[in-house]
Point group: C2
Amino acid sequence: MAAQKKSKDADSPVLWERLERPAAAPRASLTPQKIAAVAVRVADAEGFAAVTMRRLATELGVAPMAAYRHVSGKDDLWALMVDQVTAEVAVPDEVTGWRDSLRAYALANRAMMLRHPWLAQLPTPHFVLTPNRMAAAERQLAALDGHGMDTDTMMAAFRAVNAYVHGAAQSEVALRQYMEDNGWASGDETRRALAPQMTYLMETGRYPTYRRYALGAGRKDDAAWQFETGLDYVLDGIAVRIDG
Amino acid sequence: MAAQKKSKDADSPVLWERLERPAAAPRASLTPQKIAAVAVRVADAEGFAAVTMRRLATELGVAPMAAYRHVSGKDDLWALMVDQVTAEVAVPDEVTGWRDSLRAYALANRAMMLRHPWLAQLPTPHFVLTPNRMAAAERQLAALDGHGMDTDTMMAAFRAVNAYVHGAAQSEVALRQYMEDNGWASGDETRRALAPQMTYLMETGRYPTYRRYALGAGRKDDAAWQFETGLDYVLDGIAVRIDG
DNA sequence: ATTGGGATGCGTACAACGTACACGTCGCTG
DNA sequence: CAGCGACGTGTACGTTGTACGCATCCCAAT
């Protein structure tokens, strides 16, 4: 039953093939960082779904399986991608005071997430214990220190800001993506497209307060204002524990 | 060129096969709701990854492609799943006052997300305009109404709570999953496992404030306290605009 | 100089997935 | 009872993640 072994050894019939080989590949061309960098570039440009191991391989000019020597799989890759973009979030040293510091951190974080929308679609926030994250935490905890909060409370404050920022940025990204997927370029256009469903819902009479918002609000498309307003709530709430 | 048509008609050689057929399938056994319900059950029990079209089919006792008559694909399915669990978040009518109302909403939402951890891993929050979501929004906006905020501000407050809840619950789920994936059952066990990395980081001397937290904090494992403390920040921040 | 071994990249291969498409089969309505 | 639309089935294709063994290279010790 044993079929003859595939013979592609030395003097095989297709010897000439061997002359076509890349001959002497430059070694150590791959590193986890390079792979992650390419992955981030692809994700930024074409979305999360475009990041496949094969795609990265071709992008790196390398065989499909090559990357597996450096990352154990997609999970690893995601963690590296997250770590890389996390490094982009920095608060300048000039910023002092707990409130300015947290605020700058939040804004930088939002900007980063809007630059890398795929972050919001990662299977699970790979928050792991990375130096970049630790540095951010230390910076903010230090800013909160010395105002009479115990360490638990300080961490809770930092966490609260983080949670808000993450949630708000995520919903912002989701809205943008939803609009893009449907080809709606502006808030007005979106509302026009959604008008039928909306008027149907409104005519049930069950949403009077929402109706007033839909008709009368003026900041419906001002994502930055919405983000900062919400952020101010969080910061004000922290201020109550600190200053008051 | 046309090859002979596949003949599995009436008097085919394998006539007997036909006797094995399910004979008279009860009709209209599938509905989008039933499909979504099964999907939610599978996701709850075995995680997001276990929800495949084929799995749902076998679970429903039906051929792999059957479900596609009722949902256009996975995206549709996800939207239905989200809508279904969204219905679980309800604030009892007895609850009055903007703060109690928002608080109850937030807690119910967190509980729901912990019951359905896969929600945090959905490719993108399918927040769409569903009746369930509209009802929740109306309820909270109404609670916020009559305190001198304009509609933009009211919506910003609701959104802020939503963003915080979503972000906080998501990170809570992520932590749980991370621990589960590594087989760590408690916070202590987790810290023991992570101790090497942690002491390494601490010995760099770059994280003094974090160090104090790691050594001295007492609420590190009290997820509910952390959630509610952060929530109180948000609510306090809103209170500033309302009460004074 | 030789040679061995560990690190790196390649090729093949497989199972599982989403889903397109054409087909049988049912129940209802004329 | 004829036919038509809704429903479930079967087959099939392209894509994905990745296991596994082999080929090749660099470096170090002889």
